[in-house]
Symmetry: C2
Subunit: 417 residues, 2 copies
Amino acid sequence: MKTGIEVTAAQRTVLDAARALPTETIALTEALGRVLAEPVMSSRTLPPADCSAMDGYAVRRGDLTGASNTAPVELRVVFEVAAGGQAPRALAPGEAARIFTGAPVPDGADTVVRQEDTEGLDTSVRVHVDPPLRDHIRDAGEDVCAGDEVLAVGAVLQPGHIGMLASLGRTLVAVHRRPRVAVLSGGNELVEPDRDPSGGRIVSSNAYSISAQCIEAGAIPTNLGIARDTPEDLERLLRAGLEADLLVSSAGVSVGDHDHVRPVLEKLGCPLVFWGVNMKPGYPIAFGRFPDGRGPLVFGLPGNPVSAMVTFDQFVRPVLRRMAGHTKVFRPTLRATLAETLMKKPGRLHFVRVGLERRGDEIRATPTGNQSSGVLRSMTLAQGLLVFAADAEEIAAGSLVDVQLLDADWLSREAPA
Amino acid sequence: MKTGIEVTAAQRTVLDAARALPTETIALTEALGRVLAEPVMSSRTLPPADCSAMDGYAVRRGDLTGASNTAPVELRVVFEVAAGGQAPRALAPGEAARIFTGAPVPDGADTVVRQEDTEGLDTSVRVHVDPPLRDHIRDAGEDVCAGDEVLAVGAVLQPGHIGMLASLGRTLVAVHRRPRVAVLSGGNELVEPDRDPSGGRIVSSNAYSISAQCIEAGAIPTNLGIARDTPEDLERLLRAGLEADLLVSSAGVSVGDHDHVRPVLEKLGCPLVFWGVNMKPGYPIAFGRFPDGRGPLVFGLPGNPVSAMVTFDQFVRPVLRRMAGHTKVFRPTLRATLAETLMKKPGRLHFVRVGLERRGDEIRATPTGNQSSGVLRSMTLAQGLLVFAADAEEIAAGSLVDVQLLDADWLSREAPA
């Protein structure tokens, strides 16, 4: 077991242990945000034939040479083609067909004139324009040709992908399975949030923030509840989580006398790979791995609420995203201007909770005050984590800094672009 | 009814008609991403008493003056306090108490020494440091004081908020209701995606992309299916959607002879507020509103797949976000460098589908090729919509442009900051 390793080394170690989960086939209507596990080839050409892009008239372009508002050309309207319909015959010179958006262009016609550029009469139409050849015609195969690879493995399914799959007739889609996460807490002092915490007991809030972090990362959490500080109770709950893809324990992996997680994990066959990462908050984070993938990846997060959330974000979230099939597994980063000077001792990388504020094209990052790892409220005020490098001692006010964006919705605007 | 209005005027009009929906009380575990409808006041002080931030020893600071590695001070360990426990009595001079993270600091003690800075003996401890007063003590109320407003109305609940609510014992939370959206399609040519579209029929894909857009916007879609091109069938489906908060019809509001939506809506008591917005794709979008809020807001989107998605994004999505309680209802925008020159006729605002690519600190925007409103595939290749102003005719390659970010996850990184 390694100890006191650097943040990036720890991130590399945990990601090396993670694989995209196997495929499952799900309904298209459930697929938003999921990651495609198979390429999607089209067996269709879309549109299947040349079709009209507008409501108007299908014509032979040659009939309209020189047509204008002052010198309209009159054509006989010989039939009508609706979307989903078929022309009864080819169009002859001097003829037009009433046509609607999406309808196939009749043989003989080579151009569509918009209704707005015409004047409809009883059995004929006056056309006021001399259109370019093939105007307002969508070519067969303009969107997709049969045999095309339309979507590649790894595509994160957005609404456009869902519409595309529907138009190809693919109502079922093969995606990577969502990771299942077993979440447990440990400590005699803990009570569930609906119980009375008087007399010094502490509400087990970490299971709730962690479960929300799992959902945000695309995973499915199961809260196994609170283990008492005995090896037997810990073993009971850890065993209950062995069927999951990932197991997160909050509290209980430390140097203190009451910490039983490590020996119980070892008894279950899961040695720790590392304990302790040079970061603040969150030094006492542990990572364990069953040999040959015979069990879930195991994270022991620190018990302090902020430490638990920050270590989850740096190590567990990228692993869950990789399991779900994502290649971009890390938070977006922004360049921001630091509002006040920060100082620390060199040695550990600090993740400083910052509030973000837009000022024109600039983004200002202001630390949320007390950076104690017990001040959970600071996480409700922070939109980002400022990365204060391990060997650095000071960042002066006004410096440009890298901030991990915790809440992508913060980027949304009150006014349109 | 207005017609041919500008994009921003249309956005103002639809947002003026939208209100945050009433409150519902839901389980904390379901609340991620929802918008708080009531302020959250704390009835608790957290932590409720001074407590230890580390595993170690509670001491009287005055006993340790001058202590060091070479001159440790030995204190009698008279009792132990675990998290959730209580000290049996006050600490006297010369005494220490074994203490664990989260445990209340005994009366008499004023400082905590980390276990790593001590050497434990049978009934005593040797301390190697001369710590600052109150070192490693978390003050009572450091996080929250009873009576504080901890979360304000309008907060978008992130994992930190969920953890905070849990620690306050709030397992139920009052949020704005999610908007319910009725989605319908219209056209004799349409078939559901699991049916055979041969013979010129067209797969009804818009209901699927629109439903996914609803989910992404935080709404709950119901797909009412396909209306045939008769006033009776349209009325049947529109009536089925009247209980929703918002009704979206794809196809059927145009100048063509086959468009029955407008008269049927008027028959049901819903006049159109506008039809036609000076934009491309998407000119023929309609917005209707029942007087005195006696029915859903009604949007008639164009039938072309890209036009439907783009008009949804500009007009329906902000309305749904406002209904869900958000104040930031518009897409994030990025400044990007345009990769190739764009030209158009002045008059309509163009939303140009662009792929985005990061090059160092720069973001490059490249149009996705054919901008026909029928090329749905372009939406699967686009991460953003470039805003090409109505009166502009050209944007030169290399210009900085505003891009609405369609896929915030695109910002995620393959490597950490």
